[in-house]
């Protein structure tokens, strides 16, 4: 059940000129969050930006002993820029947790799964990795970006999953393998690795390639979709994704975590 509450900024950690982590008080949203869910954050009281912004709840953690939610954000416009400049202690309206989480009910310590991140798509996969780790699930992480600075929260992923289970790909080869993260996934499948499920979040080209890969490998998968949203709870109908049966599904309430077979990638 989503809650609308004002939560204070506890800390902001800037990784480079554009990427940062925003830590807010957990409120009642944090403890209720399941991996893959998101929240709508309002950047300031003014009319610019006018709408709230949707962000994956990247982690439910603590800051100096205080229960906190972490949002990993890439500053690309007014809203994401403003949220990165809020002073500690500033209260901001937060609506959450929202959306369909990653399917985890049937995942146990007997299973092996894959987690695939592209760029800022790491956000929902961090809390997922924490949960998979807590359940003792063997997890292979594949994380790609343009260069080393695109690869965020590496220490946390490696702590949750084990450094040897984390593989990276960058366009310029500055970290891990030079090339695409989807190549790492294909390679692992070719070497005979089998996963119970593949979880992914990243840019559209990555989703397209992965959708083909998991279909050919007959691999169960869940993708956390991204979309601009005005409301976040199924009312504005602005965030839709085309479905194979010809209709449009709301990313906010029918997703964001969906099976890739629920999306008509040719119409996206």
């Amino acid at each position: 059940m989503p809650v609308n509450e004002a939560l204070r900024v506890l800390r902001t950690v800037h990784y480079d000129a554009t990427h940062y982590s925003l830590f807010l008080q957990a409120g009642s949203i944090g403890p209720a969050t399941k991996p893959g869910q998101f929240a709508m954050l309002q950047a300031g009281e003014g009319l610019r930006p006018y709408l709230r912004r949707a962000f994956s709840i990247a982690d439910v953690t603590k800051v100096a002993g205080v229960p906190a939610m972490e949002f990993v954000i890439k500053a690309v416009g007014i809203g994401t820029g403003m949220l990165g400049r809020l002073a500690e202690g500033t209260p901001i309206p937060v609506l959450g947790p929202l959306g369909v989480p990653f399917p985890l009910d049937d995942v146990t310590s007997a299973d092996r799964v894959a987690v695939v991140a592209g760029g800022i798509g790491l956000a929902p996969l961090l809390l997922l990795s924490r949960e998979l780790s807590a359940r003792g699930v063997s997890t292979d992480l594949f994380y790609g970006g343009r260069n080393e600075t695109d690869i965020l929260k590496r220490a946390d992923f490696e702590r949750f999953l084990g450094p040897h289970r984390c593989r990276y790909a960058t366009d310029d080869g500055s970290l891990g393998r030079k090339g695409r993260v989807t190549d790492l996934v294909s390679q692992a499948l070719e070497s005979g690795v089998r996963w119970k499920r593949l979880f992914a979040c990243g840019p559209l080209p990555m989703f397209r390639t992965l959708a083909t890969i998991v279909q050919e490998a007959k691999l169960d998968a869940s993708f956390a979709l991204e979309s601009e949203m005005a409301c976040g709870f199924g009312v504005c109908l602005g965030c839709v994704a085309p479905t194979p049966d010809g209709r449009f599904a709301t990313v906010c309430t029918e997703g964001p975590c969906v099976s890739p077979s629920a999306v008509d990638w040719s119409r996206v």
Binding site: N4, Y50, F233, V235, L237, P242, F248
Partner: protein, 314 residues
Amino acid sequence: MAVDLSVRLGRLALKNPIATASGTFGYGLEFVEFVPLGKLGAISVKGLSLRPCFGNPPPRICETDAGMLNAIGLQNIGVEAFLADKLPELIRLGATVIANVWGDTEDEYVAVVERIGSDRRVAAIELNVSCPNVVKGGLIFGNNPQALGALVKRVREATKLPLIVKLSPNVTDITVTAKAAVDNGADILSLINTLVGLSIDIETRQPKIGFTTGGLSGPAIRPVAVRMVWEVRKVLPKVPIFGMGGIECVEHVVEFLIAGADAVQVGTANFRDPTLSARLVEDLARWCTAHGVRRVSDLTGTLRTRPRPEHRFG
């Protein structure tokens, strides 16, 4: 001092003048965690068509300064599913329900209104003749007083419920379409729907919205909406009006009432703050108390204009 918040829009009696606008409040039930639906004056549900409608391909929305553009394309579950799956629960929760309806053709409008008929669970029917985001219907009626008049006349014969016509601001003179609607049987007018706008991604040189143009809503349009309410009020002083466009706080509600609205509909602000509409009911009572207003209906149409100079000075 107890404030009387009740208002009468002809045959439509509301416990207070705060309603929510079609397209911004879903079917109402999406808001049960944020708003006690029975507390609102009314809710106007997402525009219903005879058959379910899938709407436009994305991208459907983009933010603009102090507002947003949308071209959803009237995606909805259809009137049958609404009556069967949504309306009973809305009634159980004590909501006053306005059924917003639309069609691609005159016959489709009439058919969807006939399906609701005179079902007393519905407080009023609101005719959407002003959606700018569909290829057929919508603005074809909203921009043309003859076509609008003919449509309203046929719809009027299909229901005994109070009939609201929601007008388009995308016209030269809104009083012309307002009169056409009223002359043909509209009981109440809703104004305004969204203003047609265009927002461009300058890197790709593509429209930000898939439909190219979209409807502008939010605080950016409020002065236009207030002006149009005032204009219609002057020409049709006895016709009840729902005013809407960019309402964010109680002061905006009062502004619309002074301009000539009998009640208001809160729209895009529901996206930004889903709890706002119910809070406005309390804020309005408080505002009236603080300003010595005993009956909120006393505010309607009380604009004190200054005389406009007939000649240029100097």
